[in-house]
Amino acid sequence: MALRQISSPLSPETARSLKTGDRVLVSGRIVTARDQVHKYLASGGKSPIDLSGTILYHCGPVVIREDSSWRVIAAGPTTSMREEPYEAGLIRTYHPGAIMGKGGMGQNTLKALKEEGCVYLHLTGGAASYIARSIESVEEVHLLEFGQPEAMWVLKVSNLPALVTMDSFGNSLHADVESNSLQILKELLKTPFHRKSHS
């Protein structure tokens, strides 16, 4: 499948045009936000930066201080589902162009993606070195009081490969895989271990 180049912040048209299954290469500014930032924004905290159209990345990177600058050592995605209670509200308030993380999100987020014209981009969990290669620099850091992994890091990335797994048309690859696997699980639970192993 062809790779499509997209740049962050995304235009509303770009975000609306992406479909589940599309492979993209992301360039531009992305912003990390994980548990503490989500809780803070959901409980009335103000975002220190404009998030409209930007890619909000569920990530707690390893960043070290070198002289006067920051260097990203490893920066893979964290489990997105933990932000499910907050994400729909955050999408409606701040209008990001995409949410990026791993494992996908639930029905509330999917509904907000559809209403606001936003997408979910999936990265491979644990592929921290692979992903770090696409990170060019740290542009800014905010909310460092939440700790190094939980701060809001503004990163400049170039050609970061991602997969669209939830789109603004109501599609979710995660929901599809889950419902298929549930059917198989139900069948497996009916087949006893002993009978099978001794047959």
Binding site: G76, K102, H174, S181, L182, H194
Partner: protein
């Protein structure tokens, strides 16, 4: 044992755990890569995982940015060296956190403050096992995402129609694999403890993750259960990173512990593909004499 020698050994052990994927895991990932369909998301994902692990090893960077909770198990004669090893672990962890080999992963749950150096109350977690043999240190760095989906069942479980027997155990494990999708990074490895109590179950299940993927369970019936669960879990179609595919698990390791007549716990410790585990033997000076 010599303080400075021990510090250098422990730094070496923990750094290797964070940056080098164990050989058996790497081989299993490569085998799975060949088994996934051409041009599938599953094959692509496994390719990325394998490439990323190579890159981590070559550049001495953490395999995953979540360098996990630190568990160390010291096996040694009960002498003064244990205290020295414990101190060396704390010191090594602080140094490696400053160097970006470990992420700042210890948060005080009362104040919400990150301690910044990976040490805190009961952190890192260190267990001591007295033995009459050479001193060994085993370290596991287990990520938060995979720890969050680790779970414990109490049989019978009516929602799964799981009774107090090995078939009930099988049902619990499959349920845990299903529920971990989208959270713990698959393909996963399961450490399971059948029996024990609430506390020992979790520790023993985690310790099962130290077993090599190609080892043989000394208990035949549990070995058979491992095979069955492995085959059935991989038929669920969850696949790498839960995006669909043939590879949902790389291994299942089941151990057991005596249980109270009233209790029948099944504890599942889920590990993501990025298993960070390592064991080494130390000589009388504290030098690494052998990687185990």
């Amino acid at each position: 044992m010599e303080k400075s020698v021990l510090l250098s050994s422990l730094q070496n052990i923990i750094e290797k755990a964070s940056t080098v994927l164990p050989e058996d895991i790497r081989r299993a990932l490569e085998k799975s890569f060949t088994e996934e369909r051409e041009a599938s998301v599953a094959k692509d994902t496994l390719g990325m995982i394998i490439e990323s692990a190579v890159c981590s090893k070559e550049s001495t960077r953490p395999i995953c940015q979540d360098t996990g909770s630190i568990l160390a198990i010291i096996k040694s004669r009960p002498d003064e060296s244990i205290i020295l090893i414990e101190e060396a672990i704390h010191e090594a962890v602080k140094i490696l956190t400053r160097n970006g080999i470990l992420r700042q992963n210890c948060v005080d749950p009362v104040t919400g403050q990150n301690t910044g150096d990976n040490t805190g109350k009961h952190v890192p977690q260190i267990h001591f096992v007295p033995i009459d043999g050479p001193t060994t240190v085993s370290v596991m760095l287990k990520g938060g995402g995979s720890e969050n989906v680790s779970t414990q069942y109490s049989l019978p479980d009516s929602s799964l129609e799981a009774g107090r027997d090995l078939d009930g155990v099988r049902k619990c494990i499959l349920d845990a694999v299903f529920k971990a999708q989208g959270k713990g990074c698959s393909p996963g490895i399961l450490g399971v403890c059948v029996g024990g109590d609430r506390a020992s179950g979790y520790l023993l299940a985690k310790e099962m993750l130290f077993r090599r993927l190609d080892d043989e369970n000394p208990c035949k019936i549990l070995g058979k259960l491992e095979e069955t669960v492995m085959e059935q879990a991989n038929s669920l179609g969850i696949g790498p990173m839960g995006l669909g595919g043939r590879t949902t698990l790389l291994g299942v390791k089941i151990g057991n512990a005596g249980r109270h007549p009233a209790s029948f716990f099944v504890t599942v410790s889920y590990s993501c593909w990025a298993v960070r585990r390592i064991s080494a033997e130390l000589d009388s000076e504290g030098r690494i004499s052998e990687w185990l």
